[in-house]
Structure formats: structure tokens, C-alpha cells
């Protein structure tokens, strides 16, 4: 836990948004000014004591999408320079976002959104999503393993049907789980 990790989430979210907004406002011919933010980001990354390997690899994971989107920009007047400008800007934005989310727990971010008066229904949905996505992910993996254990081998169509069936079953289980969660919330005075 570094000082960056402990900094208030509002501050980090606000700074990240301001930086990204500033980058978005840069005209294409001055996009390289955005590189000026790079030393700042690197210092912050150093200060937060994040392991550089995972950070870099997650950053690189976004690169194919950026490249694909930037290549669409190529087919216009001054396409190459516009494409390169977009690539620079979005790569720096992605690094900023990566820094933000790897130093801030998701629950903190949801709490921040709640504090700036995002509707309660949405905040509660996001909080429950953060809590239950792991659980349902596990359930999906269990179902997949069970299916593999029953050694379903067949055409691709059969495979799709089996996957669709297990997703349908997952939804049915989701609804009954939600009923139980609702009862639990009620009995604790929430909901």
C-alpha cells in the first residue's frame, strides 16, 4: 500500500478525468503535447509501487483495439497523422485509466459515485455486481466443468446448445438467488 493507494478516490478520479479531458481537447496536430503527461504518469506509477510487468502487459492488451480503431482514421485527408495522433492520445489515456483502477478498489469508486449523487438504484446495482460477479463466474466455471465431465462431444451446434442451456439455467438460478438476497437484505433492514 503506497501513498497513491491511500489517496482519496475522488481526488484520483477527478485528476484522471481532468487529464483525459485535456487530452481529448487537444487538436490532432498538437497531439504530441500529450506526451508531456507521460513523465508525470511514470512518476505516479513509480510512487504507487505497482509491479511494472503486469501494468505494462495490461496496457499492451488494449493495444490491438487502439490500433484497429486508429486504422479506421487512416482513410481520410492527412489520415496518417490523425491516426498517429489518436493512437498517442488514447495510449496515454489508457495508461492513466490503468493507473487509476489498479490503485483504487472498485468499491471505493462506487462509493465515490454514490457521493456525487449518482442515482441509488444504479449504485446499488454496481455494488452488487462487483460482489456477485465473482460468485457467478465461479458458478459458470463449475457448470462448464460438469459439462466437460459428462463429456459432451458433438457437432458445434450441440456445443452451442449446451452453452446456451447452461446460460439459461444460470439466469434461472440468478433469479432464485436474487430472491434469497432480497430476503436477507430485508431482514437486515435494507432493500
Amino acid at each position: 500500500m503506497s501513498a497513491i493507494h491511500r489517496a482519496p478516490a475522488e481526488l484520483k478520479l477527478g485528476l484522471a478525468l481532468a487529464l483525459i479531458l485535456g487530452l481529448a481537447a487537444l487538436p490532432a496536430e498538437r497531439a504530441w503535447w500529450g506526451l508531456g503527461a507521460l513523465p508525470l504518469l511514470l512518476v505516479l506509477a513509480k510512487l504507487s509501487r505497482l509491479p511494472p510487468g503486469p501494468l505494462l502487459s495490461r496496457w499492451a492488451l488494449g493495444a490491438p483495439f487502439l490500433l484497429a480503431a486508429a486504422s479506421l482514421a487512416y482513410f481520410q485527408l492527412n489520415g496518417l497523422s490523425i491516426g498517429l495522433a489518436l493512437l498517442t492520445k488514447s495510449a496515454i489515456c489508457l495508461l492513466t485509466l490503468q493507473l487509476l483502477i489498479s490503485t483504487t478498489p472498485v468499491t471505493e469508486l462506487v462509493r465515490t459515485l454514490r457521493r456525487v449523487h449518482v442515482p441509488e438504484v444504479l449504485c446499488q446495482t454496481m455494488a452488487l455486481l462487483a460482489r456477485y460477479s465473482e460468485l457467478l463466474g465461479d458458478e459458470t466455471r463449475r457448470m462448464r466443468r460438469a459439462r466437460a465431465g459428462r463429456s459432451l462431444r458433438g457437432s458445434r451446434w450441440l456445443e452451442w446448445r449446451a452453452l446456451g442451456n447452461s446460460l439459461g439455467l444460470l439466469f434461472v438460478r440468478t433469479v432464485s438467488r436474487a430472491e434469497r438476497v432480497q430476503t436477507a437484505m430485508r431482514s437486515r433492514g435494507g432493500g
Binding site: 483525459i20 481529448a24 482514421a73 492513466t96 444504479l122 459458470t140 439466469f171 434461472v172 436474487a178
Partner: protein, 324 residues
């Protein structure tokens, strides 16, 4: 379809964020009035379901795989306001957990996949389903709604990219439409598979257009569907109209009618029908024919997925015989 940060200009990103806030706010207000019926946990856990469902990869071909987006499916299972909140929560959390899509582009992403996806998907589903649909009709409608939602989202995404000056509409529109009309087929198949199996396990979950806690009052659903459709159309056409005064020429260019456009538009020439001189007419006709044939395919898919009552009775009789 997640737009990363840096691609949208500040004006476009803020504009679409405002649009998303309005739509999402309306959904939240509508849900708040229904909250006493005990649906708050359902929304959260359903959002986790969509999240988990998006991680299930379906094998496509040669090692590639696709996955569900789920806005039309959520619309069919949870009703419009519920689906909107669930999809928005999923998109926002994808940004905050995996940096999938930008934080400043969040408004635009929520607009494309949440607002447009859910409104188009839900309205298609409701309009095709009618009041008391047969299982086959329900499955066919959700398949078609899934395809429409995907394509509509891609259209709106292309509009935003071209409005920001990131790419020319004549390039980005055919590229996005071409790719997403294929992705939409996968979405259609998966959504219909899921709905067919929910119909088998617990059909009453689909009876009211959502679990009872989220059910809409039926009397004004047609009005809402009409309203939603018109809003969706306006919202989709807005980016195209905004390039006025040369809006029409941009549109015709986008449809591949100017020979001066780039050679990359070659795939688009497939959309033309020989013998019809007017290019616009040909493209529109070809688009309509394609959509209609896709609807036919959705119907065939539903016929394949939903067991016939007679055959079901036969199977039941067989089971009874063997056990008795």
C-alpha cells in the same frame, strides 16, 4: 464496440454523456416507483449474470470465439428500465475493473450498448412478440431483437467516431456495419438459445416481460414501445443530420454511392442490386431484403429450438412407458 479514451472529441463525449444521463435518469426514476415490489437485489444479481454471461466464449471457427453482449436479452428478461440500469452498470464496471472502454467515453459507450441496445432490442422484441406470443414467436423475436440491437449500437458508434473527426463516415460506417451484422448473428443465436432454455425451465419468468417484480403495466406498453422506437430513430439519425449542410452528400457517400470513395468500400458493392439505377434505392432495398431474410432465419432458428407440443407429448409418453 467499447470506445477507448482519446478517440472522441470533448464535445461529442460530453454531449453523449448528457444524453445517457437523461435516459438512465428516466430509467432510475421509473424503477424507484417500482422498488417497493422488491427488485433491488434482482437488478444487482442480474447485472452479475450479464457480466458472467459475457465471459462465456462460444467457439466460432478456426479457434476464434465470440461472446454475448446481452442488451436485447436483458430487455426481454428484465423489461426496459431494468435492462437499462443493468447494462449501464455492466459497462461502467467493465471500465472500472478492466479498463474496457474509456472513462471519458463512458457516456458514449453507455449510449451505444446500453441505451440504444436496450431500447432497440426491447422495442423490437415487444413489437414482434405481441400480447400473448407462442414460444416459437418469442424465441424468434428475441433473436431478431438481438441482431437489431447489435447493428443499431454499431451504427451509433460509427456516428460518434465520425462526429469526433476520428474517421470519415464513409469508412467507419461500412466497416462497423459489416463486422457487426456478422457479430449480430452470433448475438441472435446465443440470445435465442438462452431464452429457449429459460422457457423450458421456468416459462413464467418470461410471461410478464420480466420477473413479476419488474413487470410493466400492460396498458401503456404499446405507447412506450412507439415512443422508444421514435426516440431511438431520432437518436440514431442525429449524428448523420449533424453533419449538415452537406449531410445528404455525406450519407450518400457513406452508402458507397460515390465512385471517388476509397477502394476499401469494395465489400459494400455487394449490397447493390444490378438493374436498379438509383443507387440509394438499391442500397435501401438490399438492406431491407437482408434484414427480412435475417428475420426468416431467426424464425427457422426458433422452429429448431422450440420443441413441438406433439413431439413433446410423444416424448413424455415414451418416458412414462419406460418408467411404468
Amino acid at each position: 464496440m467499447h470506445i477507448p479514451d482519446g478517440f472522441l472529441s470533448a464535445r461529442v463525449a460530453l454531449g453523449y454523456a448528457a444524453l445517457s444521463c437523461v435516459g438512465l435518469g428516466a430509467a432510475c426514476v421509473r424503477l424507484r416507483s417500482q422498488r417497493d415490489r422488491g427488485a433491488s437485489a434482482l437488478l444487482g444479481v442480474s447485472a452479475a449474470f450479464v457480466f458472467a454471461a459475457q465471459m462465456v466464449n462460444f467457439p466460432v471457427a478456426a479457434g476464434t470465439s465470440g461472446h454475448l453482449v446481452g442488451s436485447a436479452l436483458a430487455g426481454a428478461l428484465l423489461g426496459l428500465p431494468g435492462a437499462l440500469v443493468v447494462m449501464s452498470a455492466v459497462i461502467i464496471m467493465q471500465c472500472f475493473m478492466f479498463a474496457d472502454g474509456g472513462v471519458f467515453a463512458l457516456g458514449a459507450n453507455v449510449f451505444n450498448m446500453g441505451l440504444v441496445g436496450c431500447v432497440v432490442g426491447f422495442c423490437c422484441y415487444r413489437l414482434l412478440c405481441g400480447a400473448a406470443p407462442s414460444p416459437t414467436r418469442r424465441v424468434a423475436s428475441v433473436a431478431f431483437a438481438g441482431w437489431c440491437a447489435t447493428v443499431a449500437g454499431a451504427l451509433s458508434c460509427a456516428g460518434q467516431l465520425s462526429l469526433s473527426g476520428a474517421a470519415r463516415l464513409s469508412v467507419v460506417l461500412p466497416a462497423m456495419l459489416g463486422v457487426h451484422s456478422l457479430i449480430g448473428v452470433g448475438e441472435a443465436v446465443i440470445s435465442s438459445l438462452v431464452v429457449a432454455s429459460v422457457l423450458r425451465f421456468r416459462p413464467e419468468l418470461l410471461e410478464t416481460g420480466g420477473p413479476a417484480a419488474l413487470a410493466k403495466r400492460p396498458r401503456n406498453s404499446a405507447v412506450f414501445a412507439g415512443l422508444g422506437l421514435s426516440i431511438a430513430i431520432v437518436a440514431l439519425l442525429a449524428p448523420l443530420a449533424d453533419v449538415a449542410p452537406d449531410g445528404f452528400s455525406r450519407v450518400t457517400q457513406a452508402l458507397g454511392l460515390h465512385s471517388s470513395t476509397s477502394p476499401w468500400l469494395a465489400p459494400l458493392s455487394e449490397y447493390g442490386i444490378p438493374g436498379i439505377v438509383s443507387g440509394v434505392l438499391a442500397t435501401v432495398l438490399a438492406g431491407c431484403l437482408g434484414t427480412l431474410s435475417l428475420f426468416g432465419l431467426c424464425w427457422l432458428l426458433a422452429l429448431a429450438l422450440v420443441p413441438r407440443p406433439a413431439r413433446q407429448a410423444e416424448a413424455r409418453a415414451l418416458v412414462a412407458e419406460s418408467s411404468g
